[in-house]
Symmetry: C2
């Protein structure tokens, strides 16, 4: 009965190719260039095949976003692992977060701007999202196990900085100084 397994593998691989193509095109040309026809072309299947994998276009964006949260959580943990004290951990996490958003703007956009149906503070929160939140929380409030007002506010600041920097509404030249200020704020709380 290896046939069913093979089909399952092929299906998973095709699904992977769809999200990879979406992410790549979005990063190169923006999410508006990610059309079903374009994706179908890229994976060399007809359009209806995509609907055997995802309910609609938004579901593809959401899949990319969830993969992004996995990446972000990993990056945050990796960035913080060499910190020697709380302040260093906060600084590492903040810098990593902003670098992540900056390096992959389309991915970040999928994670935070595009879909409205990926909730966080909710019973049905995806584990990937919880995990990224936990990585932040570990740096800000290592001793605290409650949901974390400080972590939420810290995250909001980072997200706000990422968003406003991206849209050119705060000076690119002051990035370093803002980072220092954020670290001071989070450290003090």
């Amino acid at each position: 009965m290896g046939i069913a397994e093979r089909k399952g593998r092929e299906r998973a691989e095709r699904q992977q190719r769809i999200t990879a193509a979406a992410r790549e095109i979005a990063e190169r040309e923006g999410w508006s260039a990610v059309t079903i026809r374009r994706l179908a072309d890229t994976i060399e299947y007809s359009q209806p095949v995509l609907y055997a994998h995802f309910a609609n276009r938004d579901a593809i964006v959401a899949a990319v976003a969830i993969a992004g949260f996995r990446d972000l959580a990993a990056a945050l943990r990796d960035g913080a692992k060499e910190a020697e004290d709380r302040q260093q951990a906060i600084e590492a996490v903040a810098a990593t977060y902003l670098a992540f958003a900056r390096a992959q703007p389309a991915l970040y956009e999928a994670m935070f701007t595009l879909p409205t149906d990926l909730h966080f503070a909710d019973s049905e929160t995806r584990p990937e999202l919880r995990d990224a939140f936990a990585a932040l929380s570990a740096a800000v409030a290592p001793s605290n196990t409650e949901p974390g007002v400080a972590t939420e506010t810290f995250w909001a600041t980072l997200h706000g900085l990422a968003a406003l920097e991206r849209s050119g509404r705060i000076r690119d030249s002051a990035r370093r100084e803002r980072l220092a200020l954020v670290v001071a704020w989070a450290f003090a709380s």
Copy 2:
């Protein structure tokens, strides 16, 4: 020569009706429901008429956004005018900002999420945007006339909170506590 004046008035009024309709529909059904056909129907003209007023759909969204910045600046000034000290001013501004975003989510979305070509920290920044920034700055750093790292970071925090609250990624129940924390941060800097 009252004829030209009348035509000018009619034109301005029609333009006003377009943006008002866009804002209303967006607030009720989301920006994706704001189509050229729908707007044309609402103002009882054919579609090409809209293009005599705006270059394209994005320009309509941008017009709504700019009006939103006027409203926001006024709301911030109004909210802060009765504050007796710096801390009260910061708190008033923060609360007003978040209430503004919460009360008119589609408008706020137009201002911060949708268009990419309304720059801030830039020589060609629209005065409406500068003015809103100045209203924030007056509360955070009343004595400081420089562009304001603190103001930028404060703004970023408020925007992040607005965005994450809206998408349900931070707990609605902790709004008060986050506000208090933000005020403490901004006050300390």
